[in-house]
Amino acid sequence: MDIHQIRSQIEQLDSLPTIPPVVRKLLGTIDSPKLSLSEIGGFVSKDQALTARLLKMVNSPFYGFPGRISSVSQALILLGLSVVKGMLLGVSVFEMMEKTMVGLWEHSICAAMAARTIANKKGLGEPEEVMVSALLHDIGKVALKIRFVEKYESALSIAEKEGVPIRNSEERIFTVSHAEAGGWLAQKWNFPKTLLEPIAYHHRPNLAKHAPIQTAVVHLSDILVRARGVGFAGDDLVPRVNNRVWDCLSLSESDIRDTLMVIEDAVQEAEEIIV
């Protein structure tokens, strides 16, 4: 398949009717100093259903954000535009995720929780941002599946029959994997590098230049969730952990055990959150 044609199709994901107009418009904005956070908050708040879902998500004990968040403006001030953008996208693509690949939502939510736990353990400044990038790390799978239904079914079938990772069968069919596809979307949506790189390089963390630690966290979170057998991400294999990631994060066995317990809690709650 022609890669330019694939990219063009992928980048039109936000034109789907399931993406609310408010999110579509927000994804097109950059962190412009001309727009104040309260202006953006007011604009998002016009979509009441979306606002309610966002507030439900950020106030859920599951997410555990500090304090109580009662408005979009407050969420923007506390969490920043890119996190709120990512979460709005997360709640918007939830249905798409569930319909396109059963189990991908559970995988994504659990990866998000694992990433936040590891980010906190490593003392990263923006654990919520790492969490959002883990929540969206497989958005490329959604995009490929929605845009190329039959071809993606073939990729899934190859992965199952030949026992190979889904990213390998994706590359065989599309020449790119879901990670590159997700990176294209993150780029088009003006996500900062700290969100873009973990999405684009979660299988090749060595390539991350601007956000190597965040990318390492999402790489390991994906592996831990797959290792626990939670949800479904396209195949049942645990990817090998990158040696540099392992050394860079240098998590203790106790840290990993704690993260597994968080995943365990998330498994039980993933089905109940947001919906």
């Binding site: 507030l55 439900k56 290792a227 057998g229 294999l237 090998r240 066995e253 055990r257 597994l260 709650e269």
Partner: protein, 86 residues
């Protein structure tokens, strides 16, 4: 039966505190308030027999035998899964 987590309304105000005893009256009130998930204390029962879980774990790690970090991860996973079964 006790609440494992506090139940909050959308404004973040606690309606029922963590550890509160759940009564029939409380359940009726919760129903009428259209609340989110309610968490009750107590360990959940694992869905599959332990042997099945462990053989699935082996299957997921196939192809990464001999990799030191993967062996460490697999051992931690195995211990973790075993701990869930008491």
């Amino acid at each position: 039966m006790r609440l494992a987590k506090a139940i909050l309304n959308e404004a973040g105000i606690t309606l029922f505190g963590e550890g509160a005893t759940v009564t029939e009256q409380m359940i009726e009130r919760m129903r009428s308030m259209n609340l989110g998930p309610v968490y009750i204390e107590g360990a959940s029962v694992p869905k599959r027999p332990l042997e099945d879980e462990l053989s699935m774990l082996d299957a997921r790690f196939r192809g990464s035998e001999g990799e030191p970090h993967m062996e460490t991860l697999k051992r931690l996973l195995k211990e973790h899964i075993q701990s869930l079964y008491g």
